[in-house]
Each structure stands twice: as structure tokens, then as C-alpha cells.
Assembly symmetry: C2
């Protein structure tokens, strides 16, 4: 497609990646913020390397946890191969944070005053193919449980966050309710709709695919200092895998 | 594509139509509001038949004039096969009039409180393929002159409009300036940026394709009472064809 051919150089990776497409588990794992990679045409966006690899560009550790969950649940994974600084696939085009000019304490020079042509190119190249592919994965399988996997920064606007795992939902709380029945005595401090929630516009992927189709769903947020290394990632994925398995069983006939 | 398969029934026409794809003229004619057809899944949108066929749903006469221009200029045509009430392809997704809940004096019940899933479906099925195809047509040809063809209602919010043809431009006025050099003594009352202009957000297609690529461009608006029948359409197309030919010649080496 022309737009994509102009958007990516010929040796750049595809924006949408699906792993374990034939997985037999009911869970579909979605990782919108898997990568901090910027397509070559964007250069640095005017940001230092540190910032380009910080939590404003991606969710550190989220893809690793997603892959471990995929292995234990035999779940299909879909992730976005490029940074949310170019397009945040968990936001609709009308959201100011879809192509953010600022994020937390950072101005993003390469995103200032975007033209309509630039907004169109990013929407067409990154957002539409990603969420269209999620639609296809949902439509091709019966009884999907939609699980999106994210990480959050332990310090935001200078404030420390104590919650370790957030289980977020929109108007359908069925799966989160069931998960919260099994968190007591566990290794993680788990909260509902923390450190932010649907009122912050973060449940877009759930609204696109889970709510209209009546799918059990949860948006998982793990504090990123806990999943910096493989040991932490394994601990979080093990805990979440058990929690999801119990909660899904509670909703099965 | 899944989204499209769900959006249209299997016997509905494609949303994007290209005519005379091998036309040798420099002009590319774009008609975003060619049709008042609603895809079957939308029913009536809660509107009477009169309103569904009124100027809020499409630009009456615009496609007929476009086709006459195509014949005389040997120009490629691209048009949208569905009503702008579902998605107005001359608006970005963040514009309130892309999927309007009201238009002129009418509420549009079927567009009230659209979910994010519904907005995504319309954007993916109608807007993205249309403007992507325009991109491809521009990219495949040298030296394109981008001409969008519209019609406007003679009475808007109860007020009569005297202008007969509007020549609209955004920041690049080159072609319109040259066209206005040849309108005196002609059969039509022609005005620059009337009955509305770029400040009303109507130059989206020009902003997407003409401005970033430095293409000569104009958005033509014809008062729709003048192009209700073939005679009127021929008169308008003949006048515009001559005007475009002279103006393009003035810009050619």
C-alpha cells in the first residue's frame, strides 16, 4: 500500500506482529505499547536517547510478560512494533494523546503542530492496521477473552505509586471482579482501576473489541520496576496466569 | 478485510470508485460527496427520505459535473460511493462533522453518541481507503493538478446565497488566482472562498494531498440549483473546463 511504502523504508519491520496465531487458549493478548522503536523517517522526534527509551515511548517489560503469559496460556499475541510516540494504538485519532505533543513532563518537538497529512499517515500506517487485525483475531475465534498488557512508571509527575498491579475495566467488570476474588495473600498489591482508569481514556482497545462483542476482558497494568528482568517478569506472569485461569474458570459453564 | 466484511453486506458496492484511471490529463478529480447511499446496516439513520436525499447527505449534481469534466479534460476521477452522513471523507476523524450528530437544521439520530467502536468502523471502512487511494493516484502520476468538486445548497439556515461558483483554496492560491483572471464576463458569478472557506475546515483533501506535495489545486463549489439537470451540468462543466485549462496553461512552463 502506497501510504505504508512511504511511511516505512523497505527494510523496516511490519507494524503489526502476531505470535502463536494458532494458540488454543481462549485468551487473546494485546500489547499496544510493546516497542520504543521509531520508524526511520521520524529521526529522534527531537528527544534524547534516554527519553526515547523511557516509559513515555513504550511500556518497558510488557511484551516480555505478554510472551510468558502466551506460553503458559497457549494464547495468541498481537503487538505493535513501533513506539506510541508516533501513534498510541490504545487511543482513537481524536484523542490528544494519540499523537502526543507532550507526555508527562516532556515536550515532544517532532509531534508539535502536526499537519492533517501527517496525522492521516500515522493513523493509516499504524492505528488502523493494528486494530483491524485485532478485530480479525476476535472475529475468527469463539469465546475470546481479551487481555491487554501494559506497564506503568513507578514515579509519575514526581509522585510515587504504591500499587503494583492494576486491573482495569470499562463498563464490563465481570473478569476483573473474578480476578480480585483471588488476589488476597498473593505476592502483589493489586488494585482495581489503578493507577488510572477508564475515565482517563485508557480503555480504548477494550471499547473497540470487548464491549461491543460481550467478551470477558481486562486491561492489566504492571509497575515497570517489578518487571525489569527475567526473574521479575516470570514472577508477574506466573501470578497473572494463575489469576486469569481461575477467573476465566469462574465464568465458564 | 474483516472490518469491511462486517461493514458492508456481500452485495453492496465498493466504497471507493475510480473512473478513467488511465486518463492522460493532468487533472485528478475528487468527489467526496458524490452519493447519498447509506450502507444497509445503517437503515435510515432515523431520517425521512427527503432528508436522506438532501444536501446534508451528499452534493447533488457534483458527480455529474465531475464526469463531464473528466470527459473534456481526460481526467481520472475518484469518488466516494456512500453518504457523508456516515463518514465525510473531506474531514479528519477528529472533526465533529466527520460523523455529524447534527447538520444544518437536522439532528441525525443514527449518529448520536457514537461509540468508539462505531467511529473506528466508519473511519476504517470509508475514510482511510478513500484517502489512501487518492494518495496512490497522486503518487503514481507526475504533475497532478488536484481538483475537488462539490455543490452547495442555495439556502442555508434560511439565508439565500448569491454566489454561483466558489473557488476555494487553502494556503496555496496559485491555481485559484489564475482561474479568477478568466472569470470576468463569464456566465457565472464566481467568488474566492465562498460560500465558506478554509477557516471552516473544508479543505481537508487539499491539505492531505496538494499542500504536502506542492500540487496546483482548487476546491470547486457549484450552487446546486444550477446543476439539477443535464443542461445546467453541461453549462457548469463547460465553463469550469475552460477555466481550468486556461489557469493550468498559465502555470505551465
Amino acid at each position: 500500500m502506497m501510504v505504508q511504502a512511504q511511511f516505512f523504508t523497505s527494510d523496516e519491520a511490519e507494524p503489526v506482529v502476531v505470535e502463536n496465531p494458532l494458540g488454543k487458549g481462549r485468551v487473546l493478548l494485546v500489547c499496544e505499547h510493546a516497542s520504543h522503536t521509531l520508524p526511520a523517517r521520524f529521526g529522534t522526534l527531537g528527544l534524547s536517547e534516554d527519553v526515547r527509551k523511557s516509559h513515555i515511548a513504550w511500556d518497558p517489560g510488557a511484551l516480555a510478560v505478554t510472551r510468558l503469559l502466551s506460553a503458559s496460556l497457549d494464547a495468541t499475541v498481537i503487538y505493535q512494533n513501533y513506539s506510541r510516540l508516533i501513534y498510541d494504538c490504545n487511543r482513537p485519532p481524536e484523542s490528544p494523546s494519540a499523537m502526543p505533543a507532550t507526555s508527562e513532563i516532556y515536550d515532544i518537538p517532532g509531534n508539535a503542530d502536526l499537519s492533517e497529512a501527517e496525522r492521516f499517515a500515522r493513523t493509516a500506517a499504524l492505528y488502523i492496521p493494528f486494530q483491524t487485525r485485532v478485530s480479525e483475531l476476535v472475529a475468527n475465534r469463539n469465546d475470546v477473552v481479551l487481555v491487554t498488557v501494559h506497564s506503568f512508571t513507578p514515579v509519575y509527575h514526581g509522585k510515587r505509586r504504591d500499587v503494583e498491579i492494576g486491573l482495569l475495566h470499562d463498563t464490563d467488570a465481570r473478569l476483573v471482579d473474578a480476578m480480585l476474588n483471588h488476589t488476597e495473600g498473593g505476592d502483589f498489591q493489586v488494585e482495581r482501576n489503578e493507577p488510572y482508569g477508564p475515565e482517563d481514556g485508557v480503555t480504548h482497545t477494550l471499547r473497540l473489541h470487548a464491549l461491543p462483542n460481550g467478551l470477558l476482558n481486562v486491561m492489566i497494568e504492571v509497575r515497570n520496576d517489578l518487571i525489569q528482568n527475567e526473574e521479575g517478569q516470570r514472577a508477574a506472569a506466573g501470578f497473572l496466569s494463575e489469576l486469569l485461569t481461575k477467573a476465566i474458570a469462574a465464568h465458564s459453564p
